[in-house]
Structures are given as C-alpha cells and as structure tokens.
C-alpha cells in the first residue's frame, strides 16, 4: 500500500466506515480535491515557452535599461559634438577686425593686400599697391575699395 493512503488510514472519519474503506475513501477525496484544483491538467506550454516568455514578460523597450543606457550615452555624445560644432561655427562667424576682412580680399598671399595698401585719399600708393588704385588718382582709398567690391560682385565672388 502506498504511504499516502496508509497515512490516511490513521485519520478519523465521521462517516462511521471501517478503517479499510476509510483509507481508500480518504485517498479518493485527496484525488478528487487535487483533480478539481487542476493538478492533473497540464501547464499551458505556450504560456511558458522560451520565445513567448521573452516577448510577453520583458517590459516595453522604452521602459528597460537596455534602451535607456545606450540612449543616454548616445544623447550625451551627440550633445557634446553638437556643442563643439556650434562653438566652432560661432567662432567662424564672429566679426573679424576690418583689416583682417579686407586682407582676405587679397588674392596673393605674400603680396600686400588691399588693407595694407588702404592708406586713404591723398597718400601716394606704393608700386606694390598701384594695382588697387582703380580710379587712377594715385592713392588707395575707400573709393577704390567700393570699386573693388563692385568688380567682385559682378564677377560673382
């Protein structure tokens, strides 16, 4: 006889049956109770299965660390790069000194630029600066600068 039913034999019962029948009856009651509770059903495999489990039980991606940690790192890197680029852009846009701007109009790097030659009206232009005396009045002044700009605009520079 199995131990479970043997154990049941030692229990009292109010029905007034003999010990032998009681033991089987108690075993039957235990079976009935287990059966009703669902012990003999099978756990639904699809609820446990490996693939389904990960789909069903893991939180949505935006709620998990797997999302937020790389996202935060990427955001910080992007912010840093963006800030650096913005700063560099600002520096490049910052207005330079007038002479510096004007100097950039010179095409030759070693030759004196327009800024170096811009000595104003009435001051005789040096031989290197004669090329900037567009109105042939022997000086390099703002009239020549305006002429220079108009020529450049017309040429599309």
């Amino acid at each position: 006889m199995t131990k479970g039913i043997a154990k049941a034999m030692s229990n009292d019962n109010v029905t007034g049956r003999t010990d032998k029948t009681q033991s089987v009856e108690l075993g039957l009651l235990e079976w009935n109770s287990a059966d009703r509770a669902g012990v003999f059903r099978a756990t639904e495999y699809s609820a446990v299965g490996l693939e389904r489990r990960s789909d069903r039980c893991s939180p949505p991606l935006f709620q998990s660390r797997r999302f937020w940690v790389p996202f935060a790192a990427a955001a910080m890197v992007a912010f840093g790069v963006g800030t650096a680029m913005f700063t560099l852009q600002l520096r490049s846009l910052r207005p330079k000194a007038g002479g510096e701007v004007l100097a950039r109009s010179s095409s030759a790097s070693n030759a004196p630029g327009f800024a170096e030659c811009l000595n104003g009206p009435g001051v005789a232009a040096s031989p290197e600066c004669v090329k900037f005396d567009f109105d042939s009045d022997r000086d390099v002044d703002l009239i020549d600068y305006g002429y220079d700009q108009r020529v450049k605009l017309a040429a599309g520079n």
Binding site: A34, G38, T43
Partner: protein, 212 residues
C-alpha cells in the same frame, strides 16, 4: 479467494522515463532549445502542480486559476535560472524544481498577505497557508504524488458505472449512508454493496501496482 481483478490495467498510464537525461535536457534548455523544455515539462509538470496544490491547498480551492498561474510562474523562473546558470546543472532536477516551487508559492502567499500582516513579526508566521507551504517535505510530496497517480490509474480502469458513482464521491463519503442513498436515488443496501465493491477493487488495484 482468487477473484478476478475487475480493473483493466493500463500499461500507458505510468510511462517510463526514456530518452535524454535531465542533465542533457537542462543543458539544451540553457541554450534555448524549445523541445528540451517540452520534454522537461512532460516529465515534471505534474510534480510541480501537485507541489503547488500540496503547499497551498486552500488557495487552490479558493481560486481555480491560482494553480495554473503559479505553475506557469515556476516554469518561467526555472527557465530563467537555468539560463543564468549556464552549464551548471542541478544534481537532482526533481528536488530543484520542488525547491523553486516552494519558494515561488511562499512568495505568492506573502504577496497575498495584507500589508499589516507582513514583516518579520509573529503575525506573518501564523498564516496557515504559509505554514503549510514552509513545512512541506519534498520527499513526502513525491511519495504522495506517486500514491495519487497510482490511484488515478486505477480509477481510469474502472467501468463507467463505477466512475459515475465516483463522480458523486463527496455526496457519498461526507454523509451517512441513508442520506447518501437518498440523494443518489438508490437503496441504502445497494449503495453500500456497490461502494464496498468499488473500494475493494481500487484497493486491490493499488496494492497490485505498488506491491503492498
């Protein structure tokens, strides 16, 4: 007395474990093999479910879905722990599953305990379900399941009339003979003799299967 046994024997009722060992299946499961999980569930699902029932009987009676959700949770926890463990395989999978089941049931019962009854104080330990769950001995659970499975096999071999009588089990067992016979619409003597014969058959079947 050489009476012919009236219960049909069902050789497929208690299948023998064949095929890959538990350890092989656990290793396959850890590497994501679905078939290994199916085989493990075929072998041990009933043990897990009976353990839950045995540890939280009253909860299972109160809520018919409780056992299902606990068993599902236990298997899910088992899968996770096996994946974490990698190549480490428990020596006895049966014992390990019972331990996982016990922990899971205790956690579930604690979650159901009202907030004012939780904590380390004496109130939490007087909860009857928790005591039932914590006192459960794994070897006793295995033996009881074996007993029940044997009994179930014997019941499945009964004829239809006896099985119909068993369906009214509670009306018969928990009442006096007169009341039970009245509710079943038969004579008390008939009920007594049929019931006695049924129990004798079951007893003989169980003893025959267990060699008791």
């Amino acid at each position: 007395m050489s009476e012919k046994p009236r219960i049909r024997s069902d050789p497929s009722a208690t299948p023998k474990v064949t095929g890959p060992t538990d350890q092989e299946l656990v290793l396959r499961l850890a590497s994501g093999d679905e078939a290994a999980l199916r085989l493990l569930m075929d072998r041990y699902d009933r043990l897990v479910r009976f353990a839950v029932f045995r540890m939280a009987r009253s909860e299972c009676r109160r809520d018919p879905q409780w056992l299902d959700s606990r068993a599902t949770g236990i298997w899910q926890g088992f899968i996770q722990s096996m994946k974490r463990a990698g190549n480490t395989v428990p020596n006895s999978l049966k014992t390990y599953l019972l331990q996982v089941s016990r922990n899971h049931v205790i956690s579930a019962l604690r979650r159901k305990t009202p907030p004012w009854d939780q904590g380390e104080g004496p109130k939490a330990t007087t909860e009857p379900d928790l005591i039932e769950a914590t006192d459960c001995n794994p070897s006793v659970i295995v033996e009881e399941l074996d007993s029940l499975s044997t009994l179930r096999d014997c019941i499945s071999g009964l004829n239809e009339g006896d099985q119909a009588l068993l369906a009214r089990l509670e009306e018969i067992v928990n009442r006096r003979w007169v009341e039970a016979a009245g509710s079943l619409g038969m004579k008390e003597s008939t009920l007594r003799s049929r019931w006695k014969r049924l129990l004798d058959d079951l007893r003989a079947c169980v003893e025959g299967k267990t060699g008791g």
